[in-house]
């Protein structure tokens, strides 16, 4: 089963495609999914968190692929960037708010043509936009995102995500595979097992206060802090023998590092709202849990880098597959949508290859 088949079979109605670096092949993946899912009879919606579509890579100067929405798809773009594509769009909604690029325009593509996708960056607005496209008639909405625009992958915005990585993500194949393997591990963080923990954590996050959960206590122990950023030590010094700390907003690398030192309990855990709120590039050694789990469906690889280096697609797919499934990790199918290479046999419970 190829990537499009996997997505189609999953039944998700919104999917983030998140590039983990420049040149990771995210736009190629977006185009592939848009056209393949459309060919399967689905009406596809296409949104970007922020602005996608510089025509040349601002770093390398190389031409960048554009999103080419298939005929009949629904898109979100802006008045200021419609250009020639404006005549090929059936406008169904216009936002009241004006951004730098004018008002947001939602419409149905009448003829396939390169189009710049534009969308909001906030979780709430992006979620509203996804729901609006679904209400207009899209069967599935693809949301373009990146590691510096992670709102797309927030569970409040999309039901699932595909990570795109590429040869430009690291200096060698092992480094690339390790990086994506870690990211998959991080974004697969589970909810806490105990019901009492989940309930108290949810209440603390709703209140927006960093809170500690003590074993047996009927309520969370609130601190006056609304963020851990800049207050890591002050907060953790209050841990005592708490079993968990619940952190609304971003969880910094420093906080995770300090969380291993201050609390009295060895199994002290950190609960974030979702994995996209956790900012670390290595396993901090502290258990990490989330209030809302993310559903990662697959990884795509681009074996060609802008630096002129490229890898054999089958080798890259195999290396990334191995790293993702290392140890007790669940594993995920990996695809190169250009060459058609994919993970061998059954991976992560999914039959591929």
């Amino acid at each position: 089963m190829n990537l499009a088949g996997l997505i189609w079979k999953s039944g998700v109605r919104s999917l983030a495609v998140v590039g983990t670096a420049k040149n990771a092949g995210k736009t190629v993946t977006m185009n592939y999914l848009a056209h393949e899912l459309s060919a399967k009879g689905l009406s596809v919606g296409l949104v970007s968190s922020g602005r996608d579509g510089e025509t040349t890579d601002t770093f390398t100067g190389e031409p960048k692929p554009s999103v080419v929405p298939p005929e009949g798809s629904w898109v979100a773009t802006a008045e200021g960037v419609l250009g020639e594509a404006g005549g090929l769009l059936e406008i169904a909604d216009v936002s009241e708010r004006r951004g730098l690029l004018g008002r947001l325009v939602l419409g149905r593509v009448l003829e396939s043509y390169p189009l710049e996708l534009v969308g909001p960056q906030s979780v709430r607005e992006l979620g509203d936009l996804v729901r609006r496209l679904l209400s207009l008639g899209a069967d599935i909405v693809l949301v373009d995102g990146a590691l510096d625009r992670v709102a797309a992958a927030n569970p409040k915005v999309t039901e699932a995500a595909v990570l795109s990585t590429g040869a430009s993500s690291g200096d060698n194949l092992n480094a690339i595979a390790e990086r994506i393997g870690f990211l998959v591990w991080l974004w697969s963080r589970p909810r806490p097992g105990e019901i009492w923990v989940r309930a108290l954590a949810r209440a603390a996050l709703d209140k927006g206060l960093v809170s500690f959960l003590d074993e047996g206590a009927p309520a969370a122990r609130e601190t006056p802090y609304r963020t851990c950023l800049g207050f890591e030590e002050e907060i953790l010094s209050l841990a005592g023998d708490a079993a968990y700390v619940v952190v609304p907003g971003a969880v910094s690398r420093k906080f995770l590092s300090e969380a291993g030192s201050w609390p009295e309990r060895e199994d002290f855990g950190v609960i974030a709202s979702s994995a996209v709120s956790v900012f670390t590039t290595e396993d901090p050694g502290v258990p990490i849990f989330v209030d809302e789990e993310m559903r990662l469906l697959a990884v795509t690889v681009n074996p060609v880098s802008y630096r002129g280096i490229s890898y054999d697609p089958s080798q890259m797919v195999a290396a990334v597959t191995r790293e993702i499934g290392r140890g007790s990790r669940r594993g995920l199918p990996v695809f190169d949508v250009v060459s058609g290479e994919m993970s061998p046999k059954e991976v992560g419970g999914v039959a591929v290859g």
């Binding site: 769009l89 419409g107 009448l110």
Partner: protein, 544 residues
């Protein structure tokens, strides 16, 4: 007084409704008829809501999806060409007006206010949304221009031909690389396959684009026929864009004379939105239409009035809210009562009801009779200005209503003079009330709340008093006021306070209960006892 909080919480469903709300202003003396018409409209719609709930649901749906077309309309007035987005907004306005009118017509026999009834824009809707059903969408359709239709068809045919030509070329490349090749794709062939690279270089169907460390890149080359078709397609695209611009310009010229009608429709939908907000509020409160007297008088009658914010707070803490009845005729009336007796609530309820009424809302009471005022003055809480005592701030604030001799005002004064020497405070308060009565000459209504004994008699004004604390019979039977010394708290006070206003004689003594209230609020008993001794020893005058 609470009016601002209530008004700010009012949420029209659309930006058009918010625009109308933003320019709301009170009706003033001379505008009684329009105000009464407004009350009738709200009452009528409120009754109709029960009979036709689905009508209001449909209208709510239309209002909730309204867009702001004013920028587009202003462009039409300036005779500018609208963009497709702006034309969509005009089309959406026409569509919404049609849906609103259609829903409104379903409420048979109901007369909608003219200002909240949009003009029909069926012709605009038909012109901008030809063949549309359901969701309004806008596109420069072929129907607008036969020439455009022809050019588009020609372009699509040539694109189809180009794809066929290019596919022929791509077939060879696909055979070489062993997979599907996109017509505009850059094909990368690894240098580690030099035979394939060489073959690709020799193929007339492929053109080399660049070379990197590990790959050589190619594109499918357009043959002569494909190149010719590309030129034709580019030319046709330019012609198509120009024709689309002509269509947009033509539509804009057609719509320009209708700008005033479009604007009227937009405002009407906004008025409808704001009006329905008032209806919803009236239904939530069980509010009534005030009776507006034609001749201006100082009479103010409010029966069973309640302050919605205070009522909500009281009920939230499990208490019972007692409505207020005020029947005031002379220019000046005095209200006295115990601490925590609700004097301020009475004042703010009166002010709120009048303000709501003059802003065209139905009022939270069972009956209200009044005539319109030029202004409402509610003595504000002492401001936190540095360098100003609360007394000084009070005096500065009072200068404004005192100076407005030629206008009718509802002037609500709460314990003027409390921040200074009691005897002079009383004298000042009495003098202010006498001045207001003389200068305002039956035009205004002044309600003065106070703890000062004798103010009503000094001024010769009607005296209203809060009934006060009513301990239960068993507690009274304990005798000698012993119930006052029992362990109580503020909730006991809430439960036993009778907030009703009763007319009493001018010399009726003001309740002396400050020490009781202090005790109930938890002040140390030792302090209360000392204070009681000072009073009973005559060291401190019990009244002022």
């Amino acid at each position: 007084m609470g009016f601002l909080a209530i008004f700010e919480n009012l949420s029209p469903k659309s930006s058009l409704g918010r625009r109308v709300k933003g320019r709301a202003r009170p009706s003033l003396p001379g505008e009684e008829r329009d105000l009464v018409n407004e009350y009738d409209a709200i009452s009528s719609l409120s009754r109709a809501w029960d009979a036709y709930p689905e009508v209001f649901s449909k209208i709510g749906g239309v209002l909730g999806s309204l867009k702001d077309p004013f920028h587009a309309i202003s462009l039409l007035e300036e005779e500018k060409v609208l963009t497709p987005s702006e034309l969509f907004l005009v089309a959406h306005l026409a569509y919404s007006a049609g849906r609103a009118l259609s829903a409104m017509a379903e409420a048979r026999g109901l007369s909608w206010p003219e200002r909240a009834t949009p003009p029909a824009l069926a012709a605009v809707e038909k012109r901008l949304l030809p063949g549309s059903s359901g969701q309004p969408v806008f596109y420069v359709v072929d129907a607008y221009s036969p020439e455009l239709a022809r050019v588009r068809a020609d372009r699509k045919n040539r694109e189809k031909a180009w794809r066929a030509e290019m596919q022929n070329e791509a077939a060879a490349a696909e055979k070489l690389v062993g997979r599907h090749v996109g017509l505009r794709e850059e094909i990368a062939i690894r240098k580690s396959s030099p035979v394939i690279v060489e073959k690709a270089r020799l193929m007339p169907e492929l053109g080399e684009t660049r070379e990197t460390l590990t790959h050589v890149h190619f594109r499918v080359k357009a043959a002569r026929e494909a190149v010719r078709l590309e030129r034709d397609i580019n030319r046709l695209r330019q012609r198509e864009s120009a024709l689309e611009e002509e269509v947009l310009a033509g539509l804009s010229r057609e719509l320009a004379p209708k700008a005033a009608r479009l604007e009227a429709a937009a405002w009407a939908l906004g008025e409808l939105d704001y009006l329905i907000c008032k209806v919803e509020l009236a239904r939530e409160w069980g509010a009534v239409a005030p009776e507006v007297e034609a001749a201006l008088s100082s009479r103010l009658y409010i029966e069973n009035g309640f302050h919605p914010v205070v009522k909500e707070e009281v009920e939230a803490r499990g208490g019972r809210f007692q409505p207020v009845t005020l029947d005031l005729d002379p220019v000046v009336s005095v209200i006295t009562g115990p601490n925590m007796g609700g004097k301020t609530v009475s004042l703010s309820t009166a002010g709120l009801c009048v303000t709501l009424a003059q802003y065209g809302f139905l009022v939270p009471c069972s009956r209200m009779v009044f005539s319109l005022y030029d202004f409402v003055y509610f003595q504000p809480q002492p401001p936190g200005k540095p360098g100003l005592s609360s007394f000084a701030a009070e005096i500065l604030s009072l200068k404004d209503p005192l100076a407005r001799n030629s206008e009718r005002g509802l002037i609500l004064l709460d314990e003027v003079g409390k921040g200074t020497n009691p005897s002079q405070g009383l004298a000042l308060y009495a003098a202010i009330l006498q001045h207001l009565r003389e200068r305002h000459d039956q035009r205004s209504t002044v309600i003065a709340a106070t703890h000062y004994h004798g103010l009503a008699a000094l001024v010769g004004a009607p005296h209203w008093q809060v009934a006060g604390l009513q301990p239960s019979e068993p507690e009274m039977q304990a005798g000698n006021g012993a119930w006052m010394n029992g362990a109580r708290d503020i909730n006991w006070l809430y439960q036993h306070m009778d907030y009703r206003l009763q007319k009493v004689g001018p010399d009726a003594p003001t309740p002396q209960d400050a020490l009781l209230v202090a005790r109930l609020l938890g002040l140390e008993g030792d302090i209360i006892t000392r204070a009681e001794l000072l009073v009973s020893a005559g060291k401190v005058a019990e009244d002022c």
